[in-house]
Each structure stands twice: as structure tokens, then as C-alpha cells.
Symmetry: C3
Subunit: 204 residues, 3 copies
């Protein structure tokens, strides 16, 4: 059982978790532009990053379960850590499937999807330390919600495009799955932002 | 921070949210019977309804986060508002995909799925104001659970039928996705009913 | 309203719920090796088991909502009961779809997936009564987490194999769906284990 001073490290742990998301999203963007052999290496790095993120999540959970006084609502910290973890899981899964399915060419809009994830990861990483003071966070959640709406529009256009252009049903299944997982990643970033909003509004 | 009297508006806000579901489910039923051009217009109306429902959800969340005393458990109100929002999101997504995928013909059982959603929306909308007194709600949740079981059976029969009758795999993918999203909508209505049951049983 | 002594039956109710999972996972394993006619009968038995499990879940929920003092955090019991229920739902759905889609041959790795579920069900069933003393539970959650990692690896290899070997897109869609639902079942068992871990760490 520890009291408040040591608990400030929740902010450090959440920031560390979000830093893995920045690394992960950059690797994912890199993977899209790479040749097949390099893609495999990058997917391996992303898988390692996912393991690191997993460790960070478990560190938050352990601290959460062993700490009597938390800087804000216990369940909200749990939800925040889980949502950060989900962002990484979806990005790693997308990368792994691109390699596993030996997808050659991805539509240009997939790069747009990943760009949104990169931006959302950066914003999330900058926001985490600001939870300490609970100040200047509304720009963050407004912007991530805007990004998610944009991602949703890109996603539906991509779906229509896939069904218009891809005539091989098996190729279509592969691409559709990757595109959907990237959309789940964007949703997960929005979930993080919504949880931060809830935390801040409760405390205000 | 507001105390109980003003908080009674939670019931109004939840009812407003459920009214959008009635509008949405009726539009969805209308869309099924329409020609392609009219479908596009109806899908646009459903998308507007979804935006209104989104606003209603945000109003509940804001009120929730700024209110000290809530008429029942804070987390249950949050879950109720989220579940209502999910019902609308799935209905809007189904309508949008029917248009986006330029689906010509839908099996008759899809209309059965949507009829269940219409009935569930009406029941939900009638139930919300009764949360004020917590009375006469068990018929509602029993009936929505029954409807969801019925929807589940229709859904599985539809899946079997699609795989039996549709030989074009790409057409099959499109129809299967629409049918699954409508099943998610039925699940979301059941989630609303289960949350209402939890709220009532806690208070009894 | 009942106080602690009668509440000890939460452990019995949770154990009863987990026993249905052992029955269900054994039926699922049996179904894989059976001919088509016998598969239909076994799927019917699994559907009956799912109904029994549903009853068990509702009994936990009713008890939860009517009990003032619970042996551990109310929301954690709710989450535990829901997660146990999800394990069963996914196993029943997989069995039903194998029959409904008239799948003839399943890849050998599907039996590996189901073997993981059988082991996870046994471990879960042995763990539930130990919640009474909160002792000797860490081996359980560590092992289920290990099993889920193993299931995840089997799942991704299976996906790659399906896309490599199955050239009929409609057959591929059927098999992919079954394989994914079995993966969801493994995730649900992990969710049960994570909830048990949370409960134990909170109390320690």
C-alpha cells in the first residue's frame, strides 16, 4: 500500500504506455512502404513493441491493484490502460496480417488510415503527462474525436473502393480484414480520448 | 454541480435518445422496400438521425459528469446511454452499407430482422420514462430478451440461407456483413434492457 | 437482502457456471471427430448446455442484485459471470455454425484450438471454488494466460493455412468464421482469468 507521492508514477506509466503507441504507429507506416522482406522485419519489431506495451499495461494494473489511493477513479485508470493496450494490439495485428496474407499492394487510402493513427498516437502521448494537472486536455480529445470521424469516412470509402476494384474474393477478404482492424485501432484511440474526457470532467 | 430536482432531466434525456431509435428503425424499414435512388436519400436521413442521437448521448454524458447526485448508479446511466448509442450506430451502419455496396435484393428475412429492431425501439422508448418510478418495467425487459432470442434464430437461419442460395462470394460477403450488423443492433437493444433490469433490481 | 453466510453460495454458483464450460468444451471436441449426423445431435446437446449455463448466469445476476454484502467487489462478480457466459456462447456458436454450414472437413489445427479450450475450462472450473479462500489462484491465471498466447499463435497459423490451402472463397469464409469464434472463446477464458487476478490482487 502506497500513498499519493509514489502514485504520481501512474502518469509516468501511462505516458510510457502511450510512447509505445507512437513507436508502433511509425513502424506500421514504415511497413506499408516497404518491400516484402523488409515488411517481415518491421512486423517483428512491431511485435516486440507490442510485448513492451503489454509489460507497461501489466505494470499499471499491478500498481493499480496494490495502491490504496489513486490520483483519479480506479476504474477510469483501468479503462485508460486497457484502451491504450487495445490501440497497440490492433496495430500489431494489422501488421502481422499484411505479412501473413502476403498482401502485395495496399490501396493508397490505407496509408491515410495509418496516418490518422500516427497523429492520434502523438496526441495521446503528449496528453498523458497533462493528466497530472488535468489542464489543457480538451484540445486533445476534441482533435482525436475529429480524427476518428475522419478515419471512419476514409474507412467507408475504402470499403466501397475495395468492393468496386478487387474482383478476386480471396484478395478482397484479406484487404477487408486489414482495413477493418485499422478502423478498430482508430476506435480504440477515440476510446482513450473519451476516457480522458470523463476523468477530467469528473474532477472539474 | 446540481442536486436532485434538475437531475430528473436524465429521464428526459434518455427518452429523447430512445426516440431517435424509433425514428431510425422506421427509416431502416422504409429503406429496405425502396428503390436505389430513394434508399440513398433515406440513408442520408438515417445518418442525420444518428448525428442527433450522438448529440443526445453527449448531453447525457456531460450532465452525468457534472452532476453530483444521480437518480441511480452513475456507471449504469453511462452504460445505458452508451448502449442506446450503439443501437443507433449499428442501424446507421447497416443502412449505409446497403447503399455503399449497391445491394439490389435483400432476402425477406432481413425485413424480419428489421421488424424486430422496430419493435425493440418502440418498447425501449416507452420504457425510458418509467425509469422515473422504476415501476412496470419487467414486461419490457422480458419482451426485449424474447425479441433478441427471436432475432438470433432469424439471424442463424439467414446465414444458412445466404450460404445456400448466394453463389457469388462477393455478393455473399456484402449480405453477410449487413445481416451481422443488424444482429449486433438486436444485441445492443438487449444490452439496454439488461442494464435497465440491473438498475431496477438494485433499487428494489 | 441477505448477509454474508448465505452469500457464500456465490462460489457455488460460479463453480456451477464453470462446470457447464467443461461439459461444453468436451462436447465441442467430440463434435469435431463425429460424422455429420452425430454432429447435429452433439450440437443440440451443446445448445442445451448453453441454456443451462444461461440459467446459471441469471441466477448469479439475480443473487448479485438482491444481495447487500458480496464476498468481493460487486462489479467484479458481474464481470466474472458475464465472461464465463461469453465462453459458453462462443463455443455453442462455433458448434452450431459447423453444423449449419455443413462443413465437412476441418483442419487439424482446429482440434488444437478446441484442446486449448478444454484445458482452459478444466482450469477455470478447478479455480472457482478457490475464490472462497483466495489462495493458490496465481498458477491458474498464469496458465490460462499462457494457453491464450498459445491459442493466438495457433489461430494466426490457421488463418495463414486457410488462405494458403482453401481455394473456394465460400468454403474459406465458413472456416474462417468458425476459427475466429474459437479464438474469441479463448479470449473469453483469458478475460475470466484476468478478472480473477484483479479480484485476488485487490484483496491481498
Amino acid at each position: 500500500m502506497r500513498l499519493t507521492p509514489r502514485d504520481s508514477s501512474f502518469f509516468d506509466l501511462l505516458t510510457a504506455s502511450a510512447e509505445h503507441l507512437v513507436t508502433g504507429s511509425k513502424l506500421l507506416a514504415e511497413l506499408l512502404g516497404a518491400d516484402r522482406k523488409t515488411r517481415k522485419e518491421i512486423a517483428k519489431q512491431l511485435s516486440d513493441t507490442e510485448h513492451d506495451a503489454d509489460e507497461a499495461t501489466h505494470a499499471i494494473m499491478r500498481r493499480l491493484n496494490q495502491t490504496f489511493v489513486t490520483p483519479f477513479d480506479r476504474d477510469d485508470i483501468y479503462e485508460l490502460a486497457s484502451a491504450l493496450d487495445d490501440c497497440m494490439d490492433f496495430m500489431e495485428e494489422a501488421a502481422d496480417l499484411i505479412v501473413l496474407y502476403r498482401i502485395e499492394e495496399l490501396p493508397a487510402r490505407v496509408a491515410d488510415q495509418v496516418q490518422v493513427l500516427e497523429r492520434a498516437a502523438e496526441l495521446t502521448c503528449e496528453a498523458m503527462p497533462r493528466l497530472r494537472t488535468m489542464k489543457d486536455l480538451s484540445d486533445y480529445w476534441v482533435e482525436v474525436n475529429r480524427l476518428e470521424n475522419q478515419a471512419d469516412k476514409v474507412h467507408r470509402k475504402l470499403l466501397a473502393q475495395l468492393f468496386d476494384e478487387i474482383t478476386d474474393p480471396i484478395e478482397l477478404m484479406k484487404l477487408k480484414e486489414v482495413v477493418e482492424i485499422l478502423e478498430h485501432a482508430a476506435d480504440a484511440f477515440e476510446k482513450v480520448a473519451n476516457t480522458v474526457e470523463t476523468i477530467v470532467l469528473k474532477e472539474s
